[in-house]
């Protein structure tokens, strides 16, 4: 019978999966795009570093659901607006990422940097060819954690009425449909796992380590 | 009595053999040095004595009893152990580190501490250092604390695993001298592991030269090793025939010989008449060490004060 339920509702499941991804993927992408410049900024402007790093750390302590609720006040949106959810997820992701990326960029050995500069790399070129590839593993590790937690966190917004796979939990609970909840859990976990595996494969493809690491530095 | 290795071997589950068919008798109150480069199984052998490693073949006997019959924890409390990284507990004061074994043996805190205080004095540390934490000591001081800790349970056996490998050469000499004094005063049986030839010849009553895979290349007194290395491996390891250890003698105007090290630095003199027969033909230059060093000089390592020795640079395994 649970199979029946799933078959009957497959169009609904697909719709919810799409809107789930519509919330989580932009958030994950934004975290990647935003956390690197913020981390670089933190490292360049030393006085800012403490503020940024501890600020993002504090942000991480803020629970997700209350943040979904408080953000509309700052953004001028409605509580059930998807934008809140995305913005909140981005903030969370940044809280996780900025610190580790800043630390990773900071830990590029000084002599490697010096060598690159001595070879005539501009600061900009050096960032792309030296700093970023060397910080790559930390970036990837952070992004994997962010993607898994983001995909999972999206479901919480369902209690506010935002459509996602989490809606399967709220609907299933209110109407007593166990297959609804189970398929929600399974699909969410599968998406998280898939994202994790994809990022891992991407990392292997982009960072066959001896080439990116030492090669560009020497 | 003492320690006896009976045909011990150690093969790990993955098939690598660390030690094969090793036998050695370490008489009570003597010092045996296991000498070899890394990977020769010397540490494995040492750790068989206090059951940090159990042999897969053969047996280790302490005072005639197979250690396999003893409970490991109790056995270890009866045997002192000093290791290269002193391995002190960073969250405990020096005094409490030294008091570890007495405490484990059930002594109350006050009793254990007074015992520890005694041990600090024995290893030449100021009593005031007891209140410090290990991180606040120099490497040499930490190593002394390590020795004090090993002695605190009043074991009659002391296992030392490259205890001075990480301290600078000058401090190493000092510590070696201390160890020679302590083991004589306290009548300890010592098994000492090192890759430093000088250290082995200085400290050992007998020295076991090991090759890769825990095979014995030669066992003997320092003098036997230098005089009659069993094969080319031992000779090369000890630096004999490579010039590293070759001394030269020059006739003195006042009679006898002046002995110089390979760098031409004077080491000492041999008085006329101190030479045994057979060595009297004037050795002009660079004879092999066992011909040049006359018996009167008491061989390498033993008769000389630490200050006269050249800094150790002959560590084939390093």
């Amino acid at each position: 019978m649970s199979v029946d339920w799933i078959l009957e509702n497959r169009a609904h499941l697909l719709t919810l999966t799409v809107s789930h991804l519509g919330l989580s993927l932009p958030a994950i992408a934004a975290v990647l795009v935003l956390s690197v410049p913020v981390a670089v900024l933190a490292n360049r402007l030393r006085p800012l570093r403490g503020v940024i790093v501890s600020g993002t750390g504090l942000l991480y302590a803020v629970p997700s659901l209350p943040l979904f609720i408080v953000l509309p006040v700052l953004l001028g949106t409605g509580v059930r607006d998807a934008v809140n959810v995305v913005v909140a997820l981005v903030l969370f992701g940044m809280a996780l990422m900025v610190r580790s990326v800043a630390d990773a960029l900071d830990s590029v050995p000084a002599e490697v940097r010096l060598a690159a500069t001595a070879q005539g790399h501009s600061a900009w070129g050096r960032f792309w060819t030296v700093d970023l590839p060397l910080a790559g593993p930390a970036l990837l590790a952070g992004l994997r954690v962010v993607s898994v937690s983001t995909i999972s966190l999206v479901t919480v917004s369902a209690v506010l009425g935002v459509q996602s796979l989490g809606s399967l939990f709220t609907d299933g609970f209110q109407r007593g449909i166990i297959p609804s909840i189970v398929s929600g859990v399974v699909i969410t976990a599968a998406l998280a796992l898939a994202a994790d595996l994809f990022l891992m494969a991407l990392g292997r493809a982009l960072m066959p380590w001896q080439r990116t690491g030492r090669g560009s530095a020497s | 009595m003492g320690i006896e290795f009976r045909n011990v071997g150690k093969t790990y589950p993955d098939g690598t053999t660390a030690v094969r068919d090793f036998s050695l008798d370490v008489p009570s109150r003597s010092t045996a040095v296991l000498l070899g480069s890394s990977g020769c199984g010397k540490t494995t052998l040492l750790r068989m004595v206090n059951r940090m490693v159990d042999p897969t073949e053969g047996a280790v006997l302490v005072d005639g009893e197979d250690v396999a019959q003893a409970a490991p924890v109790g056995l270890r409390r009866r045997i002192g152990y000093v290791m290269q990284s002193a391995g002190l507990l960073p969250h405990r004061r020096v005094i409490d580190n030294v008091a570890t074994v007495p405490r484990l043996n059930g002594a109350d805190r006050r009793e254990a501490r007074s015992r520890a205080q005694e041990m600090l004095e024995i290893v030449g540390l100021d009593a005031s250092l007891g209140r410090r934490y290990p991180d606040q000591l120099s490497g040499g001081q930490q190593q002394r604390v390590g020795v004090a800790r090993a002695l605190a349970g009043d074991p009659h056996i002391l296992l030392m695993d490259e205890p001075f490998g990480a301290v600078d050469p000058l401090v190493r000499r000092e510590l070696q001298t201390e160890i020679m004094r302590i083991r004589t005063e306290l009548e300890k049986t010592v098994v000492f592991v090192t890759h430093d030839v000088e250290e082995a010849l200085t400290l050992g009553d007998q020295v076991v030269v090991l090759r890769e895979g825990g095979e014995v290349a030669q066992t003997g007194t320092p003098r036997e090793l230098v005089e009659e290395p069993a094969d080319a491996f031992v000779a090369r390891f000890l630096g004999i025939g490579t010039g590293e250890r070759s001394l030269s003698a020059h006739r003195r105007a006042t009679g006898g010989w002046a002995i110089e090290d390979p760098n031409g630095r004077p080491l000492g003199v041999v008085e006329a008449g101190a030479l045994s027969s057979g060595a009297t033909s004037a050795p002009g230059t660079v004879p092999p060490a066992h011909e040049a060093a006359p018996p009167g000089s008491n061989q390498l390592g033993h008769g000389r004060s630490p200050g006269q020795r050249r800094p150790s640079g002959d560590e084939p395994g390093a």
């Binding site: 659901l65 209350p66 609720i69 479901t155 369902a158 609970f173 | 152990y81 507990l89 484990l104 991180d135």
Partner: protein, 223 residues
């Protein structure tokens, strides 16, 4: 009056805080739930984590299991269990404990593992039993990381304990969901603000504890 101001007004009104359904009682409930969940999680995760860290076995298994558990959406677990157990505290407890276990576990094994191998080896060689090595050497020296795991778990639990009210239990989720259902945005905002402040205070307390811990000798380098 705009909504944030209304929320603030609500928070400053003593009447909001008093009574059995007041915020004061809700804060207490919320803390009780959280404490209970973290304690239960610790009872499960600390022994396993210590064992994994001490014996250095089963780490991959634990990491894989934690990864899977972490991927489970808490709301899904909560509603699923609640369908079986009915309304009340049992389902939220199960969900919160499951949420907290991986973090406590990771802190426990990485803390125990982080202790310098030489120190552990030396302790064994002096004749400490495995138990003595664990209790007097590995746990004290691994404390900063162990506490870090408990800190993370506590923050997750305090944030998520809101959902307890979704299946009929109390805590700060109660006023929050009430506000949500009745479109009482100031109430919703006020309850959210209290949870956020609670989490930040907790984080601050843990942070201070960890800093004090690092002042102890030997724990400075506790990563």
């Amino acid at each position: 009056m705009n909504q944030p101001a209304a929320a603030l007004h609500l928070l400053l009104d003593p009447a909001t805080w008093s009574g059995p359904a007041g915020l004061g009682a809700r804060v207490l409930e919320h803390l009780q739930y959280s404490l209970l969940a973290v304690l239960l999680a610790a009872c499960v995760a600390l022994p396993i984590g210590f064992a994994v860290g001490h014996f250095r076995r089963g780490r991959n298994l634990v990491v894989a299991a934690s990864g899977t558990v972490r991927a489970l959406p808490t709301l899904g677990l909560l509603t699923l269990v609640a369908l079986f157990t009915g309304l009340g505290l049992l389902a939220p407890m199960v969900a919160l404990v499951v949420l907290a276990v991986p973090s406590v576990l990771a802190g426990a094994y990485s803390g125990v593992e982080s202790v310098d191998e030489n120190v552990v080896d030396a302790a064994r060689a002096q004749g400490m039993s495995r138990w003595q090595v664990l209790v007097t050497v590995q746990i004290p020296l691994g404390l900063p990381l162990i506490l870090g795991g408990i800190r993370l778990a506590s923050l997750q639990v305090v944030g998520t304990a809101i959902l307890a009210a979704y299946v009929g239990a109390g805590g700060l989720g109660a006023p929050l969901f009430l506000g949500l259902r009745t479109y009482d945005y100031p109430l919703l905002l006020a309850a959210s603000a209290v949870v956020i402040v609670l989490a930040l205070v907790l984080d601050l307390a843990f942070g201070t504890a960890q800093r004090l811990l690092r002042r102890l000798p030997g724990l400075r380098g506790g990563t």
